[in-house]
Amino acid sequence: MSDWESVIGLEIHAQLATVSKIFSGASTAFGADPNTQACAVDLGMPGVLPVLNREAVSMAIRFGVAIDAEIDRHSVFARKNYFYPDLPKGYQISQFELPIVGKGHISVSPGEGEHKEIGITRAHLEEDAGKSIHDQFPEQTGIDLNRAGTPLLEIVSEPDMRSAKEAVAYARKIHSLVRYLEICDGNMQEGSFRCDANVSVRRKGEQELGTRAELKNINSFRFLERAINFEIERQIDLIDDGGRVVQETRLYDAERDETRSMRSKEEANDYRYFPDPDLLPVTVSDEDIAQIRAGLPELPEQKKQRYIDELKLSDYNAELLTGNRDTALFFEATLAESPELSAQLVNWILGDLAGALNKAGLEISDSPIKPTMLTQLVARIADNTISGKIAKEVFDAMWQGEGSADDVIEARGLKQITDSGAIETLIDEVIAANPEQVEQFRAGKEKVLGFFVGQVMKQSQGKANPGQVNAILRDKLK
């Protein structure tokens, strides 16, 4: 196994979040009744013509600027010709020889403390096809053209990745970036963000690339990792058994966790690309680019650096927080009121909150605990209203919908006991009840202090301030 190296490149299709389609005025909203969002242009009716939606161009440029890529001042739409029922015109309008975004790169972090630079070959604009629906009509196929003409940005990476883990890290990074840029909603279930992986293997040290297979139909990062790992194993086993990898498109089947060859007929396609005579070349001026650059939001890398520099967060935590735009926005919202509590807030967000969200399968934007609620919770620990331990109970109650931190503390009577008289009474009782342990402590067995703290906390139902308990105990046990 270890003498093999896998080589992976990704083609990511990000659906651009424009209001209308790339070449028509029809809406791009997801989920409408079939064929209700397809106008004459989307249907490929005779005589109708495409008109470019400049917003899609701006979005592509935003992406290009963010990955430090060359933006082509003159790019060309081309027709990719093939017949398929959900491709109304018999050709897809795409970009071929002159894409709008040229070479760029992005830095990814496959694991704690790891960094790798991944090259991006190009990113081009194209229209999506419609959908064929095979399971609703007996012996017939339904065609839904609502998606036809939806703008896509196809982002093609260099074959720079060497493991499924790296590929996933890259895909996540692009996913995060397009959401930061607000050019794609990133919804993988609805197909707004789709990954195809080109996978090949070679013996370590070999310079030439092996024959690759293109994996399609992957709709989550988890499946991306599995599909690539399966494919690497398959190819190595195949070669080990004396076989040869053939260049082909393979579909990932999530249920059986395997990749399967698609019909080989697909391979023979000659797309007969040529410049689309219905569309003028897309020209972009330096001013356009400057304007778009000036309007870019703070990008993940910049945000991360700011967290490290200004909030003194660790590289790892800063990476985790900025990896997902919504997480960063959540963090910044909690920070707004109590910037001095940043360290504690980070721990709660990346610890208990992340755990709870993960367990419930929720996105942070859907968290039942809102940023202000978390800020209040952390503030109540800081001002000694509750202990860290009680805070976990408050957190769980907030998660269950019992209201804000203050509501829960009030309703459940969790306010910490800070009255030293009350604490002294509790301590006196505990000391009186455990003479043996008192002797041990006085004989120098420091560890026994923990026993006393535990007993006092137990008696107080966890509400006694642990710092005070410690101090008073030491005093009394002297």
Binding site: M45, L49, F83, K89
Partner: protein, 483 residues
């Protein structure tokens, strides 16, 4: 029924006749002569009368525009909302667009009356109108001869007085060549001058709509309605549209007219050359300065055109697949069968030939040798014209090498058919405007003279043609149809 558009406008304005009356006259004439001529694929009598009534109401209210109430025929590849648009093809025999082409919309807004949709070579592919699913059209000057193509129905309808004006489209000569064959005046504007929206595409980088009429003066009026920037067509020009009618009187005194020696070389019927030379003498008398020029790459235009046009059409016609509209074969067994039989049954032989050639020209391994090379030659052809226009204002020559040939004479020889377009095709490749006007007869059949202008100089072309028509009467001749 040889009234010009201008005369009809005057008659309507003075109340000599109403739009309904003149429309009824044309519909009657169509009923009488169309069976022999086959100019129309669809005659829209009821719609025409309804539009005519509306036009009369508008006029009575004092809101008439320049063309309100004027009957017109439209080539059957301009989409018309609610009226079949067949493109002369079986594959669209049942197709009714739910939208109007921009050109149709503009004529409708101008208050014209649509008499019907005219016959044409299938998908505008042809030079004789013999490639129509609806049968060939007869040339009104001699019913045994072709009217030219692809806009043969429109040209013949105007020549025969079945319509005072008609729209056409020109991809390689499809307005100018039938105008020449039928003895009418037709203009192909600069590429981008007239919107292509709703005009079913043959070759997108070459197609351009334009009018047919009896005179340059009429064409000026019609082009005024057609020429407009259209945001729905990305290749449409934003260049301001001048007042063509107002520019007609500018004369040709001192105008420099170039005669490309390649247009008078071998292949041109010497009798046509003689007719053209007589017309040139007239222009000289009117004060034009005539000089010989050279367009050295003329010979490359036909091969270049047939690569570009066929490559584009092979892709443009992919949408006719039997899935969403148009002809679908009976009981397809699977998807491939659906495609093969729907297209196999729906398209005629010439369309299939061009799709095959175009598909080949774009195929992997051939693209550079054909498509890319053709694009380079196209640039050279364009450069020829650019440098010619450094020294002349207009270019002049014959529209066609022969007069209208007999129906069936060239159907077995596509290359000879393609050569009909030798003088017209290079303008489409260059995107330049050109027009054809009648200047005489050979064997009782009309001879057309082509004028070629610089980009967006339609006004100059129309003015030169108008000057000639002021001192000649070829455009006033009408074929002697029985009754």
């Amino acid at each position: 029924m040889t009234r010009s558009v201008i005369e009809i406008c005057e008659g309507l304005a003075t109340g000599e006749f109403s739009s309904v009356e003149i429309t009824q006259d044309y519909l009657a004439r169509i009923a009488q002569h169309n069976p022999a001529l086959n100019c129309f694929i669809s005659v829209t009598g009821e719609l025409a009368l309804e539009q005519a009534r509306q036009a009369d109401t508008v006029r009575a209210a004092g809101n008439a525009g320049a063309l309100t109430g004027v009957p017109i025929a439209h080539k059957d590849l301009f989409c018309t909302d609610g009226v079949r648009t067949s493109c002369g093809s079986r594959i669209l025999d049942n197709f009714i667009a739910p939208y109007d082409a921009t050109v149709i919309e503009q004529f409708n807004q101008g208050g014209t009356v649509m008499l019907g949709k005219t016959n044409m070579d299938e998908f505008a592919m042809g030079s004789s109108n013999e490639n129509s699913y609806y049968g060939s059209v007869a040339n009104p000057w001699n019913l045994k001869h072709v009217p030219g193509g692809s806009s043969g129905g429109s040209a013949a309808a105007v020549a025969a007085g079945l319509a005072p004006a008609a729209t056409g489209t020109d991809t390689g000569g499809s307005i100018r060549q039938p105008a020449a064959f039928c003895g009418v005046t037709g203009i192909k504007p600069t590429y981008g001058r007239v919107s292509r929206y709703g005009m079913v595409a043959f070759a997108s980088s070459l197609d351009q709509g334009g009018p047919f009429a009896r005179s340059a003066e009429d064409c000026a009026l019609l082009l005024q309605t057609m020429a407009k920037f259209d945001p729905r067509d990305s290749t449409s020009s934003e260049q301001a549209v001048p007042d063509y009618s107002a520019g007609l009187g500018q004369g040709i005194e001192g105008l420099k007219i170039g005669l490309p020696k390649e247009y008078f070389a071998d292949g041109l019927d010497s009798r046509i050359a003689g007719v053209i030379e007589t017309a040139i003498d007239e222009l000289r008398k009117l004060g034009a300065e005539i000089k010989e020029i050279s367009l050295p790459n003329t010979g490359l235009s036909i091969p270049t055109y047939y690569v570009v046009a066929m490559a584009e059409c092979s892709s443009n016609l992919s949408r006719f697949d039997g899935v969403r509209f148009g002809h679908r074969c009976e009981n397809p067994v699977d998807l491939e069968d659906l495609y093969k039989r729907s297209r196999g049954e729906g398209f005629g032989a010439e369309v299939k030939r061009r799709i095959l050639i175009g598909t080949y020209a774009l195929s992997a391994g051939y693209y550079d040798a054909y498509y890319l090379k053709a694009q380079q030659l196209r640039r050279m052809i364009k450069d020829d014209f650019q440098s010619a226009f450094d020294s002349v204002d207009l270019i002049l020559g014959p529209t066609t090498p022969e007069v209208a040939f007999e129906i069936g004479a060239k159907t077995d020889d596509p290359v000879s058919m393609y050569l009909q377009d030798i003088y017209t095709i290079s303008l489409n490749l260059a995107g330049l405007p050109g027009m054809s006007l009648p200047v005489g007869f050979v064997d009782g059949l009309p001879v057309g003279m082509q004028l070629i202008g610089n980009y967006f100089d339609e006004a100059g072309l129309l003015a030169a043609a108008h000057s000639y028509q002021q001192v000649s009467d070829w455009h006033l001749q009408t074929p002697g149809l029985t009754s």
